[in-house]
Amino acid sequence: MQKILTVEHVEKYYGNKGNLTKAVDDISFEVEKGEFVGIMGASGSGKTTLLNCISTIDSATAGHIVIDGMDITKLNSRKLSKFRREQLGFIFQDFNLLDTLTAFENIALALTIVKTPVGEIDVRVHQVAKELEIEDVLKKYPYQMSGGQKQRVASARAIVTRPALILADEPTGALDSKSSRMLLESFETLNSNLQATILMVTHDAFTASYCHRILFIKDGRIFNELVRGEDTRRQFFNKIIEVVTLLGGDNSNVL
């Protein structure tokens, strides 16, 4: 299998010598093409910092991050922008749709940024919209849509440029359970039908249970790794809960 993402001994420190915070402390892992990987951890565990480093929004203090054969820790800001728009797709917790644009235009915006030929834009937007079942909201503005629809539009925007890696930061964080389920099923479809590689950060066990593999992070380090394998989603969910309890249990020991 082709490796899409390789994270090698990545560290991210904040503060100065006297008062050092290790948000990410020597993390290494790999993601292969077509995988659906989750990163779990409590608030403050460093999972979002790690995602920011991978997504090139933030830069790592040490270590290497290789995406699709390119070491992004060695790119300058201009190349980073280019890399970001060509290789990465983003899904944010609060959707981050432009309220001035319609759903169609929000999706098309990502294509115009990568300078897709105009003739292709219509076709590709409709293609993704069909896959995510949002064809009927394409003409609506974000304020006319439900949260679930918004997040699926945001997902469509992330996938439409055919990125090597999709990064989702708490995508279900602002959704009710029904919308969450629909969104995650969409992710599964994207993953299985389009071979999209997805890296999702979440602290919700239900959301995480849709992944193939989960990395648990605590205090900036990888604490555990869980692979779904042949388990059903319910079995996998129970395993996740066990680990989460263990993670939480540590806390109760402190108390």
């Binding site: 929004i57 800001s77 201009r78 922008s81 280019k82 890399f83 970001r84 728009r85 060509e86 990465l88 983003f90 981050n96 432009l98 309220d99 001035t100 644009l101 235009e105 098309a108 915006l109 990502a110 294509l111 115009t112 940024i113 990568v114 897709t116 105009v118 834009i121 219509d122 304020y143 925007r157």
Partner: protein
């Protein structure tokens, strides 16, 4: 504690305040500068006439200053509303911490006070120095020499500035307190997340509205062109109303219309950030269309006053050389009422009254105007030639006037004094003199086509196909709208209208001495009591007219610059503040673009386009408005003389380039740093 907080807030957000601060400083500086003109007299060698012009200047600037301070007051109130909006989150935090609204408004009032004091102090200092430079310009405009340079400080202007701006700031503080008392905590904290509801939901409506606005503007242009500016009637009012409505509709519908048009062309719509930019503008149009319209109209006033005002000033003085062929002209209106008796020979009457005209005059000649029942209307001038310059009502009025008549001898004597060729006429011939160029085509067309008149039952034929262009007396501007020259024999049967005596001085004569002598002999008292008859109603000297002209020129051009500049900085500042406050609201949107991988240069370009559109669309419409307006206004100005449009337009364009362009760039760089600051 609050004092400290307010002071800290001001110094901390100095960058947000920069444009507001500089605008106010500039406003204060202009205010002081123009109001301090009075005190600059101390530096100049000015005559009594010029002193009068100065007084007129000071007075008119005083009146205009009231108007100006109202405009600046609006700007400051408006700017403060923006600054409060920009800081909603901060104020919200104060409130969540339990600070009362009263205390919050005290902080804001204190801040306003600090900024006001800084701006006032700064503006006054700059103004005091700039007014020194202005006095040099004044000296040049008045065409007088400066005694010796001395540093002047006008206490009057100083107190006036303090008073006017003090009142403005007091009003601003009241407004701020009111607007803070109306704030709700929930709005303060969630501000910026709420979407503006679009007034025009469907895009095709904006297309229709846009077409309506174009029709309105077209009609307004047509009416003002047809009607001109001199007659305030239904058509004139309709033109103004249609113009305003058209402008409002134009800005209300423009963004929707553009969106529709560009959307139709997918290639353009999906190119670069076009989609984003157009949607950005369309999303704010509800709140901005009114201010855009007001700004457009203010820019129109700016362009109008700067170019026509300056043009008018030029015209007022340029024509003077041609309209003053003699050193001194006395005129005596005989027919005004029946109590007067004809003088017949003004010079002789003066000699009789012991005024030795010969001591001063190298030459002089009398010229008598007569009138008959021959009116302008009797010439049946080609209306279409007059219509270029006059309205219907004016032509009707002119047609009722009798055309003045002079004798051949009088004309030749007047021409000889100017070194112009003498003319000759046969017994049944006449000629026409005309210096007002608006009448020349109509008169000459008459001479070519008909060329015959009947005067007291006798038919006369024209001696030539063109009219003579000799100024027959010294006056403020050319006034001869057509004078018949007839053989001397014809005069006897006509009634005397006006007597004129033109005088040229000997070399080195002191004019003041002559005028003073006349003043003493024909003093107001002596004439009133009937002891003596003054053989003239009015005397006009070339030197005096030149001085007055220079004074008038200064008054008009100073007022134009004063009003123009204040309007310009006000509209530019409003635009800048709008865009800056929008940039802080939009930082998130631009941030998202960057997260999606748009390069910094691409984001900057989008920002640049957005701000450029906001700045230059009102300007463009204002330019179109003023093109039409100035053309019509020129017709009025041209009645007074020829106008150098190019020069004034260039001057106006330069001022715009520097001030408006400066505001634009400052806004762009300010917004840019605001957006990138948010990212880091």
């Amino acid at each position: 504690m609050f004092f400290k907080l307010a002071l800290k807030n001001v110094t901390k957000s100095i960058r947000d305040y920069t444009i507001y601060f500089l605008t106010m400083t500039f406003g204060v500086c202009l205010f002081y500068m123009f109001n301090s003109i009075d005190s600059q007299k101390a530096m100049l060698n000015i005559s009594a006439v010029q002193n009068k012009s100065m007084e007129m200047l000071t007075q008119s600037i005083g009146y205009v200053s009231i108007f100006i301070s109202v405009i600046l007051g609006f700007l400051i109130v408006y700017a403060n509303r923006f600054l409060i909006r920009r800081r909603k989150k901060e104020l919200g935090i104060y409130m969540t911490l339990g600070m009362e609204k009263g205390k919050i408004s005290r902080i804001v009032v204190l801040e306003t006070f600090f900024i006001g004091v800084f701006a006032l102090a700064m503006g006054l200092v700059v103004g005091i120095f700039a007014s020194q430079w202005l006095s040099v310009v004044t000296a040049k405009m008045f065409e007088v020499s400066m005694k010796a340079f001395q540093f002047t400080f006008s206490f009057n202007a100083f107190y006036k500035t303090l008073l006017y701006f003090g009142i403005i700031f007091l009003i601003v503080m009241i407004f701020n307190t009111i607007s803070i008392s109306k704030l709700k905590l929930i709005d303060l904290l969630t501000d910026g997340k709420k979407n503006e509801k679009l007034k025009i939901k469907r895009l095709w409506i904006s297309v229709v509205l846009f077409l309506v606005s174009v029709v309105c503007l077209g009609a307004a242009y047509y009416f003002i062109n047809k009607n001109g500016m001199l007659e305030v009637n239904g058509m004139f009012t309709a033109s103004i109303v249609l113009g305003c409505v058209g402008t409002l509709l134009f800005f209300l519908s423009l963004s929707g219309f553009l969106l529709r048009v560009v959307q139709a062309n997918k290639r353009l719509y999906y190119k670069n950030m076009n989609m984003f930019i157009l949607r950005q503008i369309n999303s704010k149009i509800n709140t901005t269309f009114v201010s855009m319209s007001v700004i457009c109209i203010m820019l129109l006033v700016t362009i109008g006053t700067l170019s026509t005002g300056m043009g008018l000033a030029d015209v007022l003085t340029k024509g003077v050389k041609e309209s003053t062929p003699y050193d001194l002209t006395f005129s005596y209106e005989y027919q005004r009422d029946n109590t007067k008796t004809p003088i017949n020979d003004i010079a002789k009457k003066m000699e009789d009254d012991k005024i030795d005209l010969g001591r001063y005059a190298r030459e002089y000649a009398q010229l008598n105007y007569y009138s008959s029942d021959l009116k302008y209307g009797d010439f049946h001038f080609d209306d279409s030639l007059l219509r270029q310059y006059f309205g219907y009502d004016q032509i009707k009025l002119v047609n009722k006037y009798p055309m003045p008549i002079i004798s051949l001898t009088d004309y030749n004597r007047a021409a000889k004094m100017q070194g112009k060729p003498e003319i000759s006429l046969k017994d049944d011939e006449f000629a026409v003199n005309c210096t007002l160029y608006q009448f020349q085509p109509a008169i000459e067309s008459f001479l070519k086509n008909s060329g015959k008149i009947v005067l007291n039952g006798k038919q006369l034929t024209t001696a030539g196909k063109t009219a003579y262009r000799t100024a027959l007396q010294t006056s403020m501007s050319q006034t001869d709208s057509g004078t018949l020259i007839v053989p001397d024999a014809m005069i006897n049967s006509l009634s005397l209208q006006t007597e004129v005596l033109n005088v040229n001085y000997k070399v080195g004569v002191n004019e003041q001495e002559l005028l003073q002598k006349l003043e003493t002999v024909y003093s107001e008292d002596a004439v009133e009591s009937g002891k003596i008859v003054r053989p003239y109603d009015m005397e006009l000297s070339r030197a005096l007219i030149f001085e007055q002209g220079a004074g008038l020129k200064t008054v008009v051009s100073y007022l134009a610059i004063y009003i123009g500049l204040v309007f310009l900085i006000t509209s530019a500042a409003v635009l800048a503040l709008q865009q800056l406050s929008e940039a802080s609201d939009n930082a998130e949107r631009y941030g998202l673009l960057q997260k999606l991988g748009a390069e910094e240069s691409m984001v900057n370009r989008a920002l640049f386009s957005q701000i450029a559109i906001y700045f230059f669309i009102p300007l463009s419409l204002a330019i179109v408005h003023s093109y039409v307006g100035i053309r019509v206004a020129n017709n009025v100005v041209q009645m007074l003389g020829h106008l150098d449009i190019m020069g004034n337009t260039l001057f106006t364009a330069m001022i715009f380039l520097v001030i408006y362009g400066g505001y634009f760039l400052a806004t762009y760089f300010g917004s840019r740093s605001m957006i990138h600051q948010r990212q880091n």
